[in-house]
Symmetry: C2
Subunit: 581 residues, 2 copies
């Protein structure tokens, strides 16, 4: 049994993760969060909010999971969000074509569809389902968005969003106004996103429905410094720069620390490893979030995209990757400078201006030539069109006046106006600032993979009293149950004070469970396995001297405290560790 | 301008609610939560969690928004979740057929499709879109689930869930085990649900994508008392019982308090108005949640379903309704005793036992007659089938032995066994308990409608200094911004201490905004309009004596306090109101 099987086994048994729809046979790519899993997920999302929404001041918004077609035409998803697919005519099974040649070429995802097919034929690749050779059809692109119809009939095509980001981009102008038209500003969204995988086979790592937490930060393209960079520049991060990567397939192999360098982000920017301060600042925020959520820092690296791996418009892109036992290094976060790609594309497709005015410190006085049409000449020349000609002439910019004749468009028809029917005038215009399309810095988090990795990184098996104990060393702010209250025996005189302690701890904001079945040893083990950091035991000494035992999950050490100071002590331990004063 | 327009106008202008996809022309039935709206939504969801998850101890789970077909066949949605639809052949527009005859019959939703069509024809109903008469086709059922396909091809039909409930029902056996196989237990889910409305025309009241918060509480069908009923029985609730309703259409008219009676829930149960304690307890919880979220108690009532309005399996069903200016009484919560309908249906369709064992206090000894087949007779009689006959006989229950001959089925074929080839024996069996399918109590909350109603109920226009001020009197725990920090003037000597105060208040867990543009009066108004309960002003006295002003949104009264005690005072005011000590 490998670690993945152990974690998924524990997660299923104890109510963290369940295969969805198992009552009806299930379907690949869907997982339920059970009671403990959903609680842990909520806590991890709240840490993310604490860092991005409260800490950075990026308000959260919530936009629909269903989107209309024009949004995803502009974003590029309707035409470009696909995987190469192949179908075996022997058994009708569909596969990711590039996955079939993973052992043969190093970077299968840079090949074209015919190239993949050729390799499959040449190497006599067997159908993974029925084992037949030579029964594959052509390779074609399968769009990964779930499709649906909005309203009756075929009224309106809808797609389940492949990322939460687009809901933020298309609200840029409203958000810009909300933030009083100043750059930079950030906005966030936590919610479901969808990817209709052809044939997902990696359990909880590759889901068809998953949760993203994304921030879109709109910045001045002329200034990518970060106002608070000095506060983070000495943070050391484990970088895996593009130049250190032998080949891209290494990105997913489990070969430990090869090629990773530890460096302060200040140095990384100075040496040109990270493109600029703004991106580097968000590598630090990502590092902070992941380690606070319980990712082992020694199993975390930031891998830079290779130039041919990055989207054509991106300036620089880094993935936070976590090391897992079965899947090697797995991407959990992408942090990219997406430039003005998204806003420019939506501006073009929607025909709305999505630029920002960058105000000068003091308005500039600019000389400009403007046209003054002579109505006594234009009237007779253009008759009933004269009014429209006049209006068109007044709208012209200086650049439009340079040719032999002046070109205007009236009712869709081009009209060339001789220079002698207009006069020119030089005016002084005050320009408040410059129009720019903001650039976007995007940290995009996969919450489900993060949760799996936190479970794996916090899992340990230890031999205690000749028995194996499973323990999840989850940080107290992540553990679903924070304190277990355990009467030593199932006797009324112990159960009653235990119930009072449960009530008292709950009132102080601690998430408590109560358990009185089985031996105390078994109950400790049950709580170790779900990561409960502290257990409080009520015994006969409690009745004598009003003290209870606090037991530490990790060290299994115990300390006696007065009931009166229990809530305070537990809260201190949750912040600073066991037995902190 | 009616109240709805005012609220939506304010909500749009200030970043609470936006029409989705407006950049691309929009689509009916979808709304975005802007920065303030999403913050308020999060707070209202957290109040719900505080009551149901923490208070009641109902763990939250999270299941996919996409579901597979068998789930919704069993739930009845594939065949029964539809609205009657009609299409005008003049303009191709689709309509809810029952909506077209709303003025003609009192309860259009009890009519059959042909009956609706007959009425439309008889009354010469015009097409609301093109105005033509007599161009309508037949009335047919339009299924309201969004459909999609999971994976490539037509591999697997998927539906966007019409309610979060089914994800909890199909996990019953896992949840039952999680709760150590004891009844009652509850489980909750907050998440998106979908309803592909034919032609939604009620703005934010009728959404195609919306947020539900649902609790499913599995209880002993033999005992519907509630263990904590005594703690709530004196709570007074505004009941609108079925017997007080003249006709069902009254359910949506705005005729004030007609038919409403105020009664303690204890009395309501005693008089048989509410079916049982368990349901009544959850009416109280619903009342608690809605009023804490900011619903005006005088515009809230609990309307009982009419017998012909309720699902056939339900025992009793109540809707919490809120009074709105444009739409009259609007349902925001449904609280139903769904009996064993859901679990029995899933048990039948999945062929899994979904019952619970209700343990007796002490196991019962039961006498039972069992059959002892005589192999020396059966062997020769049934030859090569003898083994299977033997096995079938051993599986028989006492009841199967009463007829003239004993009937068994072997390989699909009935075989009648004469009584003389078997012997009988009386055995004593220990029975631990009784198998029952639990009943389900379901409070189901519409979060979006609740948010709209809270905005409307908290909205007021007041004449202050001859100007109208808009104010949202939101409860402090619901207001998106809790404190606005305002330096009196945009001068460095005031801005710097203001920035320190922002930092200090944030650290104490308060959500703070900072605003230094415009006159102080305008800034107060801006904050009144978004419901900020308290503003803190920094002026020149602050520099002299270290005090700041706290201004109360509702009374506009002000009090000066020392900066050192500011956080504590604000926190006290958030709990107990302005100027509380």
């Amino acid at each position: 049994m490998d670690t993945y099987e152990k974690i998924i086994g524990l997660a299923k048994r104890r109510g963290f993760l369940w295969n969805s729809f198992e009552l009806y046979g299930g379907t690949a790519g869907f997982y339920d969060y059970g009671p403990l899993g959903a609680t842990m997920k909520r806590r991890i999302e709240n840490i993310w909010r604490d860092i991005y929404v409260i800490g950075e001041g990026f308000y959260e918004i919530e936009t629909p999971t269903i989107g209309i077609e024009p949004v995803f035409v502009a974003s590029g998803h309707v035409h470009g969000f696909s995987d190469p697919m192949i179908v075996c005519s022997g058994c009708d099974s569909a596969f990711r074509a590039d996955h079939l040649i993973e052992g043969i070429v190093e970077i299968p995802d840079t090949l074209s569809a015919p190239e993949i097919k050729q390799l499959i034929d040449k190497h006599d690749i067997k159908c993974p389902q029925c084992g037949e050779v030579g029964m594959f059809g052509d390779v074609f692109d399968f769009n990964l968005m779930f499709k649906t119809t909005i309203g009756p009939g075929t009224q309106r095509m809808g797609y389940l969003r492949p990322e939460t980001a687009q809901g933020m981009f298309i609200n840029f102008d409203r958000l810009f106004r909300f933030y009083r038209e100043k750059l930079p500003f950030g906005v966030t969204q936590i919610g479901k996103a969808y990817r209709n995988e052809i044939s997902p086979r990696q359990g909880v790592i590759r889901l068809r429905e998953f949760t993203q937490a994304e921030a879109e930060i709109f910045i001045n393209p002329r200034d990518k410094s970060h106002p608070r960079f000095s506060t983070v520049k000495n943070t050391v991060i484990r970088f895996y720069p593009a130049s250190h990567q032998q080949n891209a397939s290494e990105g997913n192999s489990g070969d430990g620390d090869k090629g990773i360098i530890e460096l302060t982000v200040g140095d990384a920017v100075d040496r040109g490893i990270v493109a600029h301060e703004f991106l580097a600042y968000h590598l630090v925020m990502t590092n902070l979030f992941l380690t606070r959520a319980g990712i082992d820092p020694a199993r975390l690296r930031f891998r830079q995209h290779q130039p041919d791996e990055m989207a054509h418009y991106a300036v620089d892109c880094w993935d936070a990757e976590v090391l897992t036992d079965r899947f090697g290094w797995v991407e959990v976060v992408g942090i990219a400078d997406r430039t003005d790609y998204d806003l420019s594309s939506h501006a073009k497709h929607s025909q709305h201006d999505l630029s920002a005015v960058l105000e000068y410190d003091t308005p500039k006085q600019v000389e400009q030539i403007v046209v003054k049409p002579d109505m006594s000449l234009i009237g007779p020349l253009y008759k009933d069109k004269a009014g429209k000609v006049l209006a068109a002439l007044k709208n012209l910019e200086e650049d439009d006046l340079s040719g032999d004749k002046i070109s205007i468009t009236v009712d869709g028809e081009e009209i060339l106006i001789p220079h002698d029917v207009v006069e020119y005038e030089t005016v002084i215009k005050e320009v408040r600032g410059e129009n720019v399309v903001p650039h976007v810095i995007e940290p995009s988090f996969g919450i489900d993979r993060t949760i799996y990795a936190v479970l794996e990184h916090s899992f340990a098996e230890e031999l205690v009293d000749k028995e194996t104990r499973n323990v999840l060393r989850l940080p107290p702010e992540v553990a679903p149950v924070q304190v277990a209250v355990l009467p030593l025996l199932t006797r009324e005189e112990l159960i009653n004070p235990a119930a009072e302690i449960v009530e008292m701890l709950r009132k102080s904001g601690i998430f408590v469970s109560y358990d009185d079945t089985g031996t105390i040893g078994r109950r400790y083990r049950r709580n170790d396995e779900i990561g409960t950091p502290f257990s409080v035991t009520i015994d006969y000494d409690t009745l004598d001297d009003g003290t209870v035992t606090i037991r530490d999950r990790d060290s299994m050490a115990q300390v006696r405290v007065q009931i009166g100071e229990l809530a305070e002590r537990i809260n201190a331990m949750m912040r600073s560790g066991f037995d902190s004063p």
